[in-house]
Assembly symmetry: C2
Homo-oligomer: 150 residues x 2
């Protein structure tokens, strides 16, 4: 079992990104799963609602590039657990406004602070400049526009 090639799997960005993503979210994933029984998409939706206050499923999908099917199911679960409330838009009865309930807010705050300290822990081994650069490059790869003024 000796390497015999130059372009290794470990140079291949899609592979590397997937591995880094899996590895880096494992612990956090375990946490939010155990604590709230939330899957990745539910947690993403919760975050968006926590950050933006009120959105439709479409808003979330556009912003996070999550497929509407996933959002629909995530919202259904969150609503079932009373983390999210829904209300029809009376101007356009196709869409539904979503917002966090008090319980949802509490879960959001908790997960958010978890995320923040988990993030800090991941990033510990790099310099602030490296981290800034990493985030910038990842945003570009993810097709997320640079935040205007931060």
């Amino acid at each position: 079992m000796t390497e015999k090639d130059d372009f290794s799997l470990q140079d291949f960005l899609p592979f590397l990104l997937n591995r880094a993503a899996e590895d880096s979210s494992l612990e956090f994933q375990a946490h939010y799963k155990n604590r709230y029984g939330m899957l990745r998409n539910e947690w993403r939706v919760l975050f968006h609602l926590g950050i933006f206050g009120q959105m439709t499923a479409k808003d979330i999908g556009d912003r996070a590039k999550i497929h509407k099917t996933k959002i629909s199911r995530a919202v259904a679960k969150l609503a079932e657990r009373r983390f999210v409330s829904r209300s029809r838009d009376e101007k356009d009865r196709r869409s539904e406004h979503l917002r966090l309930t008090p319980a949802g807010e509490a879960a959001y705050r908790d997960l958010r602070s978890q995320a923040q300290s988990y993030d800090a822990q991941i990033v510990e081994r790099f310099t602030p400049e490296e981290v800034a650069m990493l985030r910038r490059m990842l945003r570009q790869l993810a097709g997320i526009e640079e935040p205007a003024s931060r």
Copy 2:
């Protein structure tokens, strides 16, 4: 729908990594799926065998951190298509040595060159220094030891 917080989802590394990983592998995924009908795990196994020549399923799992169940099924498919041949280890009859058949080698070479040029295309927008840094940081996040002398 206005932002009201400081620590955005888009700063959170596990989120960012997942998004970047998804985005960057989408196109490539479409390619290898259409061309060889291979799924991500099959393609990963193929790559490992192409790079290392001969390995057991365990070797692959250890190196790529893929669960043995996935490897078992991926290998089954690859063997069915005659991309991989298996032979029992007579010293330890529990394990099986895997290697690529000529057809497997051909598929590997093809996918490898695809991967290489796809990688180059992803990376186009950054400077070589940035790319080197990105790979290094991602390897660290993925828990992959730095290649000794490259």
